[in-house]
């Protein structure tokens, strides 16, 4: 965990006071709604279909048990008893009253939690791998760099009124769990041949109505230059990004219009002026931030303890273990994913009671620490392997042990027409129905890894472009229709999906998805070939022929 100090706490208190004042000025009429809007957005407050929505940042996906418990408290006291984890390591509360917002924020601020820059045309919550600090694959703990960027970007005077929102994601492992290639800036931390740490810098990725995979503009940027380089990117974008059309204002459009090469040249020219200035990170500064991350006191434990071997005799435990537990860098410890996708429930939702259960389990078994991943699941990054059977028993009792992580029912979905003012179609009920069709775990295990992503409109909050199967809700003559894409992915081989064929009606979607899966089972070269690899090998045509022939 990162330890907030008196500076962070003072800033947070000042921000809460500032927002309280802004709300008062809005209620008194001194601020018009138009003037208030960007101010509330930069504190995470949206106006949705039915009520104000509060979006809270979970910086780089890391939460303490006390912080999660406080979120449960906010859900219970100010909302309707649940919260919704999003694809960007945030949590949303959908039913908060404007007059309660400052108090809810003050309650959260007591445990160092806030909604700062979770919305608005500014640098958003910096996201990273939910396995950071725990996976054996990483070159360094990416949260160090996410924290440095969090501080740098917080209330940045120059970049608070950008052309549009700006999202940065970091991966420190070759296997990209942070979807860095579909962010405005993606940073890939690695070591060069000399063993020096640095970032590959990608810009101009993103989804929405004009999706792009990010382009690499620098293969290796020594870590000490990360802030000055980001400042150079931001400065070029702030001055030259389009402001005439909200749909063309993201950095991806600028990069696309002038070309990645010209964009890189502009950035490098700006950077040459500032690279050795006040933003250059010294070892001392980096070490200072690094020292503020406290790691668990791992004990020397057996890698395969007797408790685990005994528990694996139970097929239900064994199924969960094989699905939801991953290798930790310390022998005797494991990374546990907690599925927030029970069959038939809205993806990413957790009740206040479930949040309390997870917080208690984190206290008992996981060094008080919880993570949130972009797939809308939770994670306990540091669990002693010998404790897994007892942890599983308690998760199972709280309906938090559905062994469907990375399965077809582990669906990413936006809130859609059930909540969102922008949506054209429902997303959550589509996800619920698909997960019911694939409730049989033997069947879904036989299908293997398959990511279904659903968005209720072209703004693509459900990341449909990068779903192995992408589902996009559109509106035609007042009716909900859905376009299906195949072959998208958000990992290190990021790619946008290809349209399968004509849009289908709401009722037809679940059947169509079943047909696609049946086609895959028939077409795959062996049970080892994943859905995404079959699509990559054959293209969408053979799927199209089979699927539309039956409809």
């Amino acid at each position: 965990m990162y330890v907030y100090d008196e500076f962070d706490r003072a800033f947070l208190a000042e921000r809460v006071a500032d927002f309280r004042d802004q709300v008062e000025r809005r209620l008194s009429g001194a601020l018009s709604e138009d003037e208030f809007k960007p101010l509330r957005l930069m504190n995470g407050v949206y106006l949705q279909l039915h009520a104000y929505m509060l979006r809270i940042a979970i910086p780089y996906g890391t939460l303490s048990s006390d912080q999660l418990r406080r979120m449960a408290h906010v859900a219970r006291v100010y909302d309707r008893g649940y919260g919704h984890f999003t694809t960007r390591q945030n949590i949303q509360f959908n039913w908060i009253k404007l007059e309660d917002l400052p108090q809810a924020m003050a309650d959260l601020a007591e445990v160092g939690v806030h909604g700062i820059q979770t919305s608005g045309n500014c640098i958003r919550n910096v996201t990273t791998d939910q396995w950071a600090g725990a996976t054996p694959e990483e070159f360094d703990d990416p949260r160090i760099w996410a924290e440095i960027l969090r501080q740098y970007s917080t209330f940045h005077p120059e970049f608070t009124y950008l052309p549009r929102k700006f999202k940065i994601a970091i991966t420190a492992a070759p296997k990209d769990r942070a979807a860095t290639k579909v962010h405005d800036v993606g940073l890939r931390l690695h070591r060069n041949e000399e063993g020096e740490l640095g970032f590959e810098v990608l810009v101009g990725g993103g989804l929405g109505r004009t999706p792009f995979v990010g382009k690499s503009i620098r293969p290796f940027l020594p870590v000490r230059h990360v802030l000055s380089y980001i400042e150079a990117i931001m400065r070029v974008y702030n001055q030259f990004g389009r402001r005439d059309n909200i749909y063309k204002a993201r950095i991806k459009i600028l990069v696309h219009e002038i070309g990645a090469e010209a964009f890189a040249e502009a950035v490098e020219a700006e950077w040459a002026n500032i690279r050795d200035g006040a933003l250059k990170l010294t070892d001392e500064i980096i070490d200072d931030i690094r020292a503020r991350f406290l790691y668990p006191d791992f004990a020397a434990l057996e890698a395969e303890p007797a408790e685990l071997k005994a528990a694996l005799e139970d097929p239900r435990f064994a199924t969960w273990y094989r699905n939801s537990v991953h290798k930790h860098k310390v022998p005797g410890y494991s990374i546990v994913t907690i599925s927030l996708k029970p069959v038939g429930a809205p993806p990413g939702d957790a009740t206040a009671d479930q949040m309390d259960v997870v917080a208690d389990l984190a206290d008992a078994y996981a060094f008080h620490e919880i993570r949130v991943g972009h797939e809308q699941n939770l994670c306990l990054p540091n669990v002693a392997t010998k404790d897994l059977p007892e942890l599983w028993r308690q998760l199972d009792a709280a309906e938090l042990a559905t062994p469907n992580v990375n399965h077809i029912s582990d669906i990413i979905a936006c809130p859609g027409l059930d909540y969102c003012a922008l949506a054209n179609a429902r997303a959550i009920p589509v996800a619920q129905e698909i997960s019911k069709r694939f409730a049989d775990l033997d069947r879904s295990r036989g299908i293997g890894r398959l990511h279904v992503n659903i968005s209720g409109c072209i703004n693509a909050c459900g990341h449909h472009h990068v779903g192995h199967i992408g589902i996009l809700g559109v509106e035609k003559n007042g009716q909900e229709f859905y376009q299906i894409t195949l072959g998208g992915r958000a990992d290190e081989h990021a790619q946008l999906g290809t349209l399968l064929g004509p849009a289908v009606s709401y009722d037809q979607v679940p059947g169509l998805i079943e047909d696609i899966v049946d086609a895959y089972l028939e077409l795959r070269s062996s049970p080892k070939e994943l859905f995404i690899d079959t699509v990559h090998r054959l293209g969408v045509e053979p799927f199209k022929e089979r699927v539309y022939a039956t409809h």
Binding site: M1, V3, Y4, D5, F7, D8, A10, F11, E14, R15, D18, D21, Q22, A30, E35, P38, S64, S65, D66, Q67, V111, N121, Q151, Y152, S153, T154, F155, H156, P157, E158, F159, T160, Y161, L162, L227, R235, N238, Q239, R243, N273, A278, L279, E284, I285, D288, A291, R292, L294, Y295, P296, D297, A299, L301, Y333, A362, A366, F367, H368, N382, D387
Partner: protein, 181 residues
């Protein structure tokens, strides 16, 4: 409209000249658009008055360099309060081009932006609302903590933190409580 300079309400010495105004007012400091300034360059020289220009948002600020020695004021425009190009222009003008003279924020200037304008290098502000002008001091002191350095001389946390170590007592999930395993 009120003019605030370095925190004080002051009289605006400059007369704003619209592009369509036919003649230049005599013997008073003038604030003009870049286009008008270029059109009247010779006349302005011979009139021997102080001149300020409003630099356009869509022109790189570096191109102002040749004119700076002749200027008594630079103004940057906020077409709406949501359009933040002038923040970058202001920082470049101060920190890159070394402009030490007055730098004025005009257009969509609201109270909640005063502090970030000051941090970006503006020392003159023309607020849209008179009530905002009254709240200037309060707005400027709403924060004491600044995470990142700009050219404004305020100490940033990046440097201020150095030499201090993490205080574990404040932690929510620190290792000293992590005895479960």
């Amino acid at each position: 409209m009120p003019l605030i300079e370095n925190g004080k309400l002051v009289e605006d010495r400059f007369t704003r000249v619209a592009d369509e105004d036919e003649t230049l007012p005599a013997s008073t400091p003038l604030l003009l658009s870049l286009d008008r300034f270029l059109k009247e360059e010779e006349a302005l020289k011979s009139a021997n008055v102080e001149v300020g220009i409003i630099w356009p948002n869509n022109k790189p600020i570096a191109e102002i360099a040749p004119y700076l020695p002749r200027l008594a004021l630079v103004a940057l425009n906020f077409p709406t309060f949501r359009d933040g190009r002038a923040y970058s222009q202001a920082r470049l003008l101060r920190e890159r081009l070394g402009w030490k003279g007055p730098l004025r924020a005009i257009g969509g200037v609201l109270r909640d932006q005063f502090l970030i304008m000051a941090r970006s290098g503006f020392d003159q502000i023309v607020p849209v609302k008179p009530a905002d002008a009254q709240a200037f001091d309060e707005a400027m002191h709403s924060y004491t903590v600044f995470y990142q350095p700009t050219g404004d001389g305020r100490k940033s946390l990046l440097r201020a933190r150095l030499g201090r170590s993490a205080t574990r007592a404040d932690d929510n999930g620190s290792k000293d409580r992590g005895a479960a395993a």
